[in-house]
Symmetry: C2
Subunit: 159 residues, 2 copies
């Protein structure tokens, strides 16, 4: 059982933007985590579509959070980005199982998925990037050898 | 996010054995669900190793439950058969993430997985194959065109 790489990367992007409180370009994030730039670009598109990140274009631009970390609920992020409709093969659209319609396991699994998400609803991004961690994040970023973008304190509209 | 096909098939085998209360050969189950016989054979090995099913060898033999359906807890089955160590890429052994050791998301995800399993701990196989469903299962089996093995009422030691 695995979270999709898409959601995994999305959470990493949010952690990085929230943890450092700075702007990052897609290239910087891809290099930082050592992950595919193309895949990351699609992930960022998804995060933008959900109103979670925004882009500042041009020189010195980059990605930043579009909301306060305390407003970004982890369970909500996972609900929006992760696909659950194929959790077991009989849950997918157009799939068929000999015992479909008679199997009582599917509601139990659906309930278990809801319990999984409800647990994550307890946490916001802010819980995962507390102020004490900021120093750690800043050190991490310093060690990555990337240019240090100016810290931003409040999200603003993208250009 | 998907349950592995291994666990998916294992649950289907248990549902079928518990629902019909009869013996099935691997060939019959594979044909019944229209799934790979080779994959199914591995799944059955796993179920045997967990003491959930047993094999009656020889003519008229086949697989049957090794325990009463009321003793087979769905959460336990999923805990034993499903792999969770690679739920996000940083959870796997030998994997590395730039923010490992500083990321506070992993405990939240681990807690969510525990909530998922705890929900499934509420259910036994018996809950999913109640007596009223037996008739449905029997009709389903009749419609499958397979030979109807003799019903067994209590699990016995395998030959």
């Amino acid at each position: 059982m695995q979270l999709s790489l898409h959601t995994d990367y999305a959470l990493r992007v949010l952690m990085l933007l929230g943890g450092t409180g700075t702007q990052w370009t897609i290239d910087e994030i891809a290099a930082w985590y050592g992950i595919s730039r193309n895949h990351l670009a699609k992930v960022v598109q998804g995060l933008q579509a959900e109103g979670l990140v925004e882009t500042q274009r041009g020189r010195g631009g980059g990605l930043r959070l579009a909301r306060d970390p305390a407003e970004i609920v982890i369970g909500h992020v996972v609900r929006r980005l992760e696909r659950f409709d194929g959790f077991v093969s009989c849950m997918g659209a157009g799939t068929d199982c000999t015992i479909s319609g008679h199997c009582q396991l599917k509601p139990a699994l659906a309930g278990a998925l809801e319990a999984f998400l409800t647990h994550l609803d307890q946490f916001t991004l802010a819980d995962h990037v507390s102020r004490s961690d900021r120093r750690v994040w800043d050190r991490l970023k310093g060690g990555a050898g990337t240019a240090a973008p100016a810290a931003i304190s409040t999200p603003a509209s993208s250009a």
